[in-house]
């Protein structure tokens, strides 16, 4: 914790802490290998996207929990992040619903393809 920044000078807790960070590093490397390997399995698109994003979410959670110290933070930060998640989900949902709810024949087309825009 920040408030303990200079109060801990013993070597034992420090050694255990370093070992923990290295274990997280190992887990992140393994998950990276799994992510890349899974992309070569020719899975159906939906399954591949779900698997790829799930593995990314697990890796991101490890980084956030251990490297960014979110596993032992104060309530003010959790409240800030909860609001961020809600707003980001709303941003993402409304944007995607715009496309998912289109009427037949009005699908968005690439502006970079000749004749793609009306």
């Amino acid at each position: 914790m920040t408030q303990n920044a200079t109060t801990r000078s013993g070597t034992m807790p420090h050694t255990a802490e370093v070992r923990g960070y290295l274990m997280v590093f190992g887990a992140l490397l393994v998950l990276t290998v799994v992510t890349v390997s899974a992309s070569y399995l020719e899975l159906p698109a939906g399954t591949a996207i779900a698997l790829g994003l799930t593995l990314a979410a697990v890796k991101a959670s490890l980084v956030a929990a251990f490297f960014m110290h979110l596993s032992h933070e104060r309530a003010a930060i959790y409240a800030t992040l909860l609001l961020t998640v809600v707003l980001a989900a709303a941003l993402f949902s409304f944007t995607v619903w715009t496309e998912a709810d289109h009427a037949p024949g009005t699908r968005f087309q690439s502006p970079f393809v000749a004749g793609g825009t009306r």
């Binding site: 920040t2 591949a48 593995l55 251990f66 490297f67 960014m68 110290h69 995607v96 690439s110």
Partner: protein, 198 residues
């Protein structure tokens, strides 16, 4: 306290945090919305496209995998740099911070090689929607890497002077810079599968 900024080392009673810690998280919250808008744009354009190029045939998965490992490793060295300061070992802090900077530099070199390959094959942001998104997202991310490297270079160079007079405040500075650096790593963890593998 040598500056007018309050609560750089003491806990502010109403938030339970130091001001820099709360500040960096509020900044990262805005960063989530910035990258969130671009990720949602990617989803919108891909879902709505009549056809979508085979991404892995355009981009280099091996180079991106290498960059993923480099950035994750630099996150580890960054947290070990902070951990070294907590153990009052300035020499080891300098070593790990230098390695973190080196990791950022390697990432940018690999990224520039990737960009060079695209340009040499006539692939530009204007070529198609995927490449437009690819260059926008990876370019914005690279700018964040450069920004983090500038802060880290300051903390490795002239900024280290604070260690002699205010070690706890300096340690907190490194922690806050580290939280930002880990966020840059975290964004790449999502960019990698989205732009290279899916």
């Amino acid at each position: 306290m040598s500056s007018g900024i309050p609560y750089t080392t003491e806990i502010r009673p109403d938030t339970g945090l130091t001001n820099p810690k709360l500040g960096i998280w509020l900044f990262l919250a805005s960063e989530v919305m910035l990258f969130g808008s671009l990720f949602s744009s990617y989803a919108l354009l891909r879902m709505g496209a009549e056809t979508w190029p085979d991404q892995s045939a355009i981009v280099s998965v091996p180079l991106a995998t290498l960059n993923t490992i480099v950035l994750i490793a630099s996150s580890v060295t960054m947290v070990l740099a902070w951990s070294s300061l907590k153990a009052r070992n300035l020499a080891r802090y300098r070593l790990f911070m230098a390695l973190t900077l080196a990791g950022g530099a390697v990432f940018l070199v690999v990224k520039s090689i990737e960009y060079g390959e695209k340009f040499s094959h006539g692939l530009y942001p204007s070529t198609n929607n995927f490449l437009g998104l690819y260059f926008t997202l990876t370019g914005l991310h690279a700018i964040h890497v450069i920004g983090g490297m500038l802060v880290n270079a300051f903390l490795l160079g002239p900024g280290t002077r604070m260690w002699a007079s205010e070690p706890e405040r300096f340690t907190n500075r490194v922690e806050v810079a580290g939280i930002y650096w880990h966020f840059v790593d975290l964004v790449w963890i999502f960019l990698f599968p989205v732009l290279y593998l899916l």
